[in-house]
């Protein structure tokens, strides 16, 4: 599925206190990213592996002539790989980064107030918050900037 290039137009119709997220599946976890960082979602894209990189860096892909790096969210979270096929391309502060996920789940609008910070005891640096989903499940909010760090 191809989305709008910059999430701002998606947010144009939103009220002030609501955030829109793209939720994806990673093992048993459901993780969401703000739509304004999402560039595109791809499936079955050929990834060219690069040597001498940590295992969670899968390699690079050719996105219409642009070379974009891809990281596996599973491996980044220390989980085993599972032949994932979906890549969500994010734009983080001007840098493009692809995230390899199990599959794309849904798009949700959540009231900003419902997004709570992670518990103080949590050592999970990659997530910046959590929220309940309308269908009863829990969504972890991905801190994309941290993804760009090592």
């Amino acid at each position: 599925m191809n989305m709008i290039d910059d999430g701002t137009s998606a947010r144009a119709g939103l009220e002030e206190d609501v955030e829109q997220y793209l939720v994806f599946q990673c093992d048993t976890l459901r993780i969401g990213v703000r739509v304004d960082c999402v560039v595109e979602a791809l499936i079955n894209q050929v990834i060219t592996p690069l040597p001498m990189l940590p295992d969670y860096v899968c390699g690079i892909i050719n996105l219409r002539g642009e070379v974009v790096p891809v990281v596996s969210i599973r491996l980044r979270l220390g989980k085993p790989s599972a032949q994932e096929q979906s890549i969500i391309v994010l734009s983080i502060n001007g840098t493009q980064l692809g995230v390899l996920v199990d599959r794309v789940d849904q798009m949700v609008k959540l009231p900003r107030s419902s997004i709570l910070p992670m518990p103080a005891t949590s050592s999970q640096k990659l997530m910046s918050g959590m929220s309940s989903l309308p269908d009863g499940g829990t969504m972890l909010e991905l801190d994309s900037a941290v993804l760009l760090e090592h």
Partner: protein
């Protein structure tokens, strides 16, 4: 000046002025060598100063305008009187002064470029110019000197001419070439009479209404008014400021006594009186150019301009914004990729398409040509950069008291603009090093060593295949290997136990924090030099190699690939990975078998190729790939070379030659330092797959 729409005017000004300054530098350098300015030189300099003066005036850069004007005046006089009029001992002064002026202009232009305020302090420079002009006019006496000065708007050394009882003075200058200055002065007088009354002020020259000869005085010294009351002078200033033909004015006060004042006018106005013949002669000589101003100034400028233009072959040139060229290169690069995507499309595999193939071949030829032309747009000769080095050799030679000449070879060699820009600073540093450390302190040392007392630095540029080779070779004392090694050990860069080869020792010079100077001189010795040079050169994709024969000299060689964006590569496969090796780095490829491998004591592998042994490096092992051939006879050995480094790389298969557009790796990937392991870029192949481009020398250093 408001910026907005004036930005392109500023850009043009900067570009033109910088270009003119460079031309000026060359002319003066050559003239200094010949110890004279030819008539052509004089005309050319006059023309350049005139242009800079005009442009700077338009941009309201006063200091630049003033200095340019003075030099223009000086060269006008030299043109009239020829170089014969410049006494021999003063010629060196003249050249020095020109260089001072050029540096002044440069520094001001740089300030403009950086948005900084310009210096107003030009007095010293003007003093030098004025004293030179005086010497040229054969008039060493101060009055003549001072008399010549007012021709421009410089601060006048002429004693105030306010008369007794009228202490508030005002000196008015009319616009150059406006004509009939005496009548204009009289018009001012009439106006002032109306404002403050005839008896409340005096003026000099007094006979402006009737005597046209006063024009000369007014033009050179200004029209001088003296007011009884300050208030009247203030009113006069208002009038003068509003007047269209007034260039400027000076207010001055004279509380001193009558007698002193009487002296003033006499000394300062020799033209109006019968002054000593020498002074008279110098006045007329000085005035003549001034007199020329209204009518003649434009005229001499015009033939000078024509002459100037005539002495250069008229080239049809157009200056293009570099960003447009970059854009063009990008698009052409994409066309190259897309062209191969079309012609090598998997959809066409196996089909027999004669007409298509013919057209495809034609298309390929055209895209190749398009590529060549667009790349050539960015090529500029290294000449300009090389010539900048002349100045450095000259200036440093003077400062250090060393005689050395710079010889240029291959200065017309053309190189991509980004490379030319990138090597400017490194070259300056290398040349400085040669002057400072290389060339011997005293001529006696050189003669004792059997060398020409004048040191020589050869700066050369040449193409070989896909690279441009730039060399700086000096015939100085070369590298003191022992001293360097000791310094390296002291700095912790080397271990005292290990025995280093000369090559290794000389490479310590390229490491950060290295310097054999015990004191930091103005030019070098901070130890931040050669490693920065290396970094800058590597940024444009090149390598730095140092060689030296103690006592004979030192050579620094920069090898830079001609273009970084598009390269001819050989696709190879290792397991399921595809790599691209630049064709320029491949010497040969051959098949061998396991039995040809020779093992060394450290489990390294080598093969013998044409009487030499080369290390064998298995790509599969270097990159920890899962699959790939292990037996030598299954795969293929590629004998690769880059700079000083040469070895055999073992890969599975050769897939074919491809012209590829180099795409840099994403920044995120580069943060993992993968460049150090031989992977510097990638390319998108015709079928959309990505191939990694190998950097032959990095790969090798990575596994050391």
């Amino acid at each position: 000046m408001d910026n907005g729409g004036n930005e392109s005017i500023l850009d043009t000004y900067l570009y033109e002025t910088n270009t003119l300054l460079e031309q000026l530098d060359s002319i003066v350098l050559a003239a200094e060598q010949a110890d004279t300015f030819t008539q052509n030189d004089v005309n050319e300099i006059f023309r350049i100063m005139h242009t800079i003066k005009g442009a700077s005036a338009m941009m309201e850069y006063e200091s630049l305008t003033t200095v340019a004007h003075r030099i223009e005046d000086m060269f006008f006089i030299i043109r009239e009187k020829t170089m014969e009029s410049v006494p021999d001992p003063d010629r060196a002064l003249l050249f020095d002064m020109m260089f001072l002026a050029i540096d002044f202009f440069r520094s001001q232009v740089e300030k403009v470029q950086n948005g900084q305020p310009l210096s107003k302090d030009i007095d010293k420079l003007l003093e030098k110019i004025n004293s030179l002009i005086a010497k040229i006019q054969g008039d060493a006496d101060g009055a003549g000197n001072a008399a010549a000065a007012p021709a421009a708007s410089a601060v006048s050394a002429v004693p105030e001419t306010a008369e007794a009882g009228f202490p508030y003075g005002l000196r008015v200058f009319f616009d150059e070439g406006v004509g009939m200055e005496n009548l204009r002065a009289f018009m001012l007088v009439t106006e002032f009479r109306g404002i403050c009354g005839e008896e409340n002020f005096t003026f000099f020259p007094g006979d402006v209404e009737t005597n046209a000869a006063t024009i000369e005085t007014i033009v050179s010294q200004g029209f001088v008014l003296s007011f009884r009351k300050e208030m009247d002078r203030a009113g006069a200033i208002q009038v003068v400021s509003g007047s269209g033909s007034v260039r400027g004015y000076q207010a001055f006060d004279n509380p001193a006594g009558a007698t002193a004042r009487q002296e003033g006018p006499k000394a300062a106005a020799p033209a109006a009186e019968s002054a000593p013949p020498a002074a008279q002669e110098s006045r007329t000589a000085a005035l003549k150019p001034a007199q020329e101003k209204p009518v003649g100034k434009n005229v001499p400028a015009a033939p000078a301009a024509v002459q100037g233009a005539g002495s250069h072959p008229k080239e049809s040139l157009i200056s293009v914004n570099l960003s447009k060229l970059n854009q063009l290169m990008d698009v052409v690069g994409e066309i190259v990729i897309t062209e191969s995507m079309v012609t090598a499309s998997p959809d066409l595999k196996g089909l027999k398409l004669d007409n298509f193939t013919k057209s495809a071949r034609q298309l390929r030829k055209l895209t190749d040509e398009l590529q060549d032309v667009s790349m050539s747009l960015r090529m500029v000769p290294v000449l300009a950069t090389f010539q900048k080095m002349q100045r450095i050799v000259r200036d440093m030679g003077k400062k250090l008291g060393k005689k050395a000449r710079l010889t240029l070879v291959g200065e017309d060699t053309e190189v991509d603009k980004t490379i030319v820009d990138g090597i400017g600073d490194p070259l300056m540093h290398i040349v400085r090093n040669s002057m400072d450390h290389g060339i011997e302190e005293s001529e006696a040392d050189r003669i004792a060593a059997g060398k020409d007392p004048e040191g020589e630095i050869i700066l050369s540029a040449s193409h070989t295949g896909g690279e441009v080779i730039i060399q700086v070779k000096d015939d100085g004392r070369g590298v003191d290997y022992d001293k360097v090694l000791k310094k390296a050990v002291d700095a912790g860069l080397a271990s005292p136990e290990i025995e280093y080869s000369r090559k290794e020792i000389i490479n310590f010079l390229l490491m950060p924090g290295f310097s054999t100077n015990t004191e930091v001189t103005e030019f070098s010795g901070r130890g931040v030099g050669m490693d920065v040079v290396k970094k800058n050169v590597e940024e444009v994709g090149g390598t730095v190699v140092l060689t030296s024969e103690p006592g004979k000299g030192m050579t620094t060689t920069l090898k830079i690939p001609l273009t970084m964006a598009i390269l001819d590569g050989m696709e190879v496969s290792v397991g399921s990975s595809i790599f691209t090796i630049p064709i320029n780095n491949i010497r040969q490829s051959f098949k061998m078998s396991d039995s040809d491998i020779i093992h060394d004591a450290a489990h390294g592998e080598m093969v013998k190729v044409m009487d030499n042994f080369y290390s064998v490096i298995r790509a599969k092992d270097v990159y920890g790939l899962d699959n790939g051939y292990d037996k030598i006879e299954d795969g293929i050995l590629m004998w690769v070379e880059s700079g000083e480094c040469t070895y055999c790389l073992f890969v599975d298969e050769l897939l074919g030659e491809q012209q590829v557009v180099v795409k840099p790796l994403p920044n995120y990937i580069n943060t993992f330092n993968i460049k150090q392991h031989g992977i510097t870029g990638c390319t998108i192949l015709g079928d959309g797959n990505i191939s990694v481009i190998l950097d032959v020398s990095n790969l090798y250093s990575a596994i050391q």
